[in-house]
C-alpha cells in the first residue's frame, strides 16, 4: 500500500513541472523536478521501490511530452541505475552522490533528447543546445537537488518508519 505514494507524488511533480517549473527558464533551460525527485528518492536507504518510481515517472512524463515515450523512461531508469551504482560506493556521503547522480542523469537525459531530435531532423546546433539548454538546466537541477533530497528523506522516513527491535 505504501508503494502507492509514488503516484500522487509523481503526478503532482509532473503537473508542477509542466505548469510552473517549465515557465521559469534560465536562458533556454529549466529544471527537471521529476527527474530530481526520482534521483532523490532512489538515494534513500529505505527506498526499495526506486525502479518502480522511475517507470511511473517515465510513463507520466511521456503522457505530456512531445518526445517519444522511450526517451523519458530511459532517462529515469538510467538515473536510478546511476543512483544505485553510486550509492553502494559512496554511501557515507549522500550529498556527493546526489550531486554526482543529478549531474550524470541530467546530462544523459539531455544527450538522449538531443540525439533523438537530431536523428529526426530537428534543427539543433550542439553548441546552442549545450550552452543555452543543458548547462542552465544542470545548474537548476543541482540547485533544487538539496531541498528535494531532504523532502524525499522525510517522505522515506514517514513511508518506511524505522522498526525498533523488541527485546
Amino acid at each position: 500500500m505504501r508503494n502507492l505514494v509514488a503516484f500522487p507524488i509523481l503526478t503532482l511533480a509532473v503537473i508542477v513541472q509542466s505548469s510552473i517549473v517549465s515557465g521559469i527558464p534560465l536562458l533556454r533551460g529549466y529544471a527537471d523536478l521529476t527527474l530530481v525527485i526520482v534521483i532523490a528518492w532512489s538515494l534513500q536507504e529505505e527506498a526499495i521501490t526506486a525502479w518502480y518510481w522511475a517507470i511511473v515517472a517515465g510513463a507520466l512524463t511521456s503522457f505530456i511530452t512531445g518526445l517519444p515515450w522511450g526517451i523519458p523512461l530511459t532517462a529515469f531508469l538510467a538515473a536510478v541505475f546511476f543512483s544505485k551504482t553510486l550509492q553502494k560506493r559512496i554511501w557515507q556521503a549522500p550529498l556527493i552522490a546526489l550531486f554526482t547522480v543529478t549531474f550524470l542523469a541530467s546530462l544523459f537525459s539531455h544527450l538522449l533528447s538531443f540525439a533523438y531530435l537530431n536523428v529526426t531532423g530537428a534543427s539543433i546546433q550542439f553548441a546552442d543546445a549545450f550552452s543555452l539548454v543543458t548547462l542552465p538546466s544542470l545548474l537548476l537541477n543541482l540547485l533544487i537537488a538539496v531541498p528535494v533530497f531532504w523532502l524525499m528523506r522525510d517522505l522515506a522516513r514517514w513511508t518506511y518508519p524505522i522498526e525498533e527491535d523488541e527485546e
Binding site: S18, T65, L67, D128, V133
Partner: protein, 281 residues
C-alpha cells in the same frame, strides 16, 4: 420664657448674618474670596478627576489593547483580501483584454470558426517548444488544426486527448512551415530553433529581401491556411558562396506570454505524404 427669647434672638442673629453675607456676595463685595473659593474647588475637582481617569485607564487599558489588536488583525485580513481582489481583478481585466482582441480577430476573419483555449502547461523537455491547452477531442479539436492568436500564427495541434491537447509552436526546432512574403511574393520555408529564433531559408539568391517584410503562411503543403501572419523579416544573410539566402524573422506572437489561443476548427490539414514521389530502386 427667658430661654425662648434668648434662642429666638440667636436664630435671628444667625439669619441676619447669613442673609447679610449672601447679600454682600450677591452685591459683588466677596469677588476675590469667591474667586479663590471657586478656584480651589476647580483645582480640587481637577486633581480628583485626573487621578480617577488615570486609575480608570489603568484598569480599562488592557481591554482596549486587546480590542485594538483584534481590530488591527481584522483590518489586516480585510486589507489582504482586498489586495488579493485587486490582483484577481487586474488579472481578469488583462484576460478580458486578451479575449476582446481574440473576439475582434474572429470578427475580422469570419471565414474561420474558432475555439478559444487556455494554455495550462508547457512541455517538460526544454528541447521542445510545445504548450498544453485545456481543450481536447470533446470540444472537436483534431490533430493538425492550426492555432492562432489575434496577432498571428502560434502553431498546430500535435496530439489530442479528451479534455486537453498539445500544441507544437512554430518556434519548435522540428517545426517547418511554408511561407511567402507579403510584399515581394516570394515562397520560402520557415524553421524554428532551440533558441526560439525563426529562420527563413530556401530563398533564391536573385531575390531582393527587404527588412520589415511581413511573413505569411503560404498554404503550400496543406498544413496551414493561407495568409496567417507569422512575423517580420529582420536580419538578411546573403553570401555569394551559398545556394540560397537566409533571413531571421521576428515573430508577431509573444510566445513567452502565451495564455489564451484560438484553434481554427474548420480547417482540415491535407496529408500530402502519398503524393510525394519516393525513390524506387
Amino acid at each position: 420664657m427667658k430661654d425662648l427669647l434668648s434662642r429666638s434672638l440667636q436664630t435671628a442673629i444667625i439669619f441676619l448674618v447669613v442673609g447679610g453675607i449672601i447679600a454682600l456676595a450677591l452685591g459683588g463685595y466677596f469677588g476675590s474670596a469667591s474667586n479663590w473659593f471657586s478656584s480651589m474647588l476647580v483645582d480640587t475637582q481637577t486633581w480628583f478627576s485626573t487621578r480617577f481617569v488615570a486609575i480608570q485607564d489603568f484598569f480599562a487599558a488592557p481591554r482596549d489593547v486587546n480590542s485594538l489588536r483584534q481590530r488591527n488583525a481584522e483590518l489586516e485580513t480585510e486589507a489582504a483580501a482586498l489586495r488579493a481582489q485587486v490582483i484577481e481583478l487586474s488579472e481578469r481585466a488583462s484576460q478580458v483584454d486578451t479575449l476582446a482582441a481574440l473576439v475582434n480577430y474572429s470578427r475580422v476573419n469570419p471565414e474561420s470558426s474558432y475555439i478559444a483555449a487556455d494554455v495550462i502547461g508547457r512541455d517538460p523537455s526544454p528541447f521542445l517548444h510545445y504548450v498544453i491547452i485545456n481543450r481536447g477531442s470533446n470540444d472537436g479539436i483534431l490533430r493538425g488544426m492550426p492555432v492562432v492568436t489575434d496577432q498571428g500564427l502560434v502553431g498546430r495541434v500535435d496530439a489530442v486527448i479528451a479534455d486537453a491537447a498539445r500544441i507544437q509552436l512554430i518556434t519548435d526546432p522540428s517545426a517547418v512551415i511554408n511561407v511567402h512574403l507579403q510584399n515581394s511574393d516570394i515562397e520560402a520555408v520557415l524553421h524554428g530553433s532551440i533558441t526560439s529564433d525563426l529562420t527563413l531559408s530556401l530563398i533564391p539568391q536573385d531575390i531582393t529581401l527587404v527588412e520589415g517584410d511581413l511573413v505569411l503562411t503560404s498554404g503550400l503543403g496543406g498544413g496551414f491556411p493561407t495568409d496567417l501572419p507569422i512575423g517580420q523579416v529582420t536580419n538578411i544573410r546573403k553570401r555569394e558562396a551559398d545556394l540560397f539566402q537566409q533571413a531571421s524573422v521576428q515573430p508577431v506572437v509573444d510566445f513567452s506570454r502565451l495564455s489564451i489561443v484560438l484553434i481554427i476548427t474548420n480547417f482540415r490539414p491535407v496529408d500530402i505524404e502519398p503524393l510525394i514521389p519516393t525513390l524506387t530502386p
